[in-house]
């Protein structure tokens, strides 16, 4: 059998199995998109509010919230929302000790990640709630939405040039 025909048969089998599993299976997911909406729905179901970038900016300007960056340290260093502290989700159990004294349970926390499809902010927010922080919010759309709104960013780059 020609290789293209073999590959076509395998593709057809995969398409059929995928359609069957996602139509009749127990763990169906949206075919396209839906990732961002799912993240926000999961956040709200976990008792975590989702703020727009405008709401987040207002809260930060008012100084009411402590801002936490759930991304990796390299991403935080390259470009971040001003005043954000790095608390990477993937190393949260070790990183959180460094900033634990600043995590006043009475102070609202605001968490963000890379973009609307990044779930590490949600995971960090859930972790913080489990540690006893009752007021944790997410910035919807994360860093991408913040930049798209034209809001300022900062970086560890040497002074003299704006953050990219």
């Amino acid at each position: 059998m020609r290789i293209a025909l073999q590959a076509g048969l395998l593709l057809a089998a995969a398409l059929a199995a995928g359609v069957a599993a996602n139509t009749a299976g127990p763990r169906r997911i949206p075919w396209t998109g839906g990732i961002e909406a799912r993240l926000e729905a999961e956040a709200r179901a976990s008792g975590i509010a989702v703020m727009s970038v405008a709401e987040a900016k207002a809260a930060l300007d008012a100084g009411t919230h402590l801002l936490l960056d759930a991304r990796a340290p390299a991403e935080h260093a390259a470009r971040r929302i001003p005043w954000a502290m790095s608390l990477p989700w993937r190393t949260v159990t070790s990183s959180i000790e460094a900033i634990a004294p600043m995590l006043d349970p009475a102070r609202p926390l605001l968490v963000y990640c890379r973009g609307a499809a990044c779930d590490e902010g949600l995971l960090l927010a859930r972790h913080l709630r489990a540690r006893g922080h009752g007021n944790v919010s997410l910035i919807g759309g994360g860093m991408e939405a913040w930049r798209a709104a034209g809001l300022p960013v900062e970086s560890d780059a040497p002074a003299g040039g704006p953050a990219p």
């Binding site: 073999q6 395998l10 075919w31 973009g115």
Partner: protein, 143 residues
């Protein structure tokens, strides 16, 4: 292309097939988590939901064909080469874009070790091996 020594080719083929079957299993079991793993690559042109629905089955069938279905083996190897090549490109794009994300290759855990250039190199090597095996397999049209 010079045909690889038979034991080496057999070992490489079995390893490739096993890798695809093992990689497919957690993705089929939890397509929602796999959709997140795809979305983390920030590839705007890739519909994470559809990829999460179909790709694991293609991996599974390609792996099974490579391992146990001689009539479809070359097709499975061709898919292995294409998929691994695509994964290498996606991984390189993520790293060049400054992302620090889990690979999503075998484990869907969010705290898995981050993707690195070692992943990309190994994936690329797998793609080259799969392409070589597809060309060298019995029934292949010799160039």
């Amino acid at each position: 292309m010079r045909m690889p020594a038979r034991p080496v080719a057999l070992a490489a083929r079995l390893a490739l097939g096993a890798v695809f079957v093992v990689a497919a299993a957690p993705k089929i079991a939890d397509p929602g988590a796999f959709a997140w793993a795809v979305a983390r690559y920030d590839l705007a042109w890739v519909p994470a939901g559809a990829v999460a629905v179909f790709l694991p089955w293609l991996e599974l069938f390609a792996g099974l064909a490579i391992l146990a279905v001689p009539a479809l083996r070359r097709g499975g190897l061709a898919w292995a080469a294409l998929l691994l090549g695509g994964f290498a490109v996606a991984g390189a794009a993520a790293l060049l874009g400054g992302l620090s994300i889990p690979c999503g290759c075998f484990s869907l855990a969010t705290d898995a070790a981050p993707l690195g250039w070692g992943h990309v190199a190994a994936t690329l090597a797998g793609a080259v091996a799969a392409a070589g095996l597809a060309r060298a397999a019995p029934g292949a049209v010799q160039a």
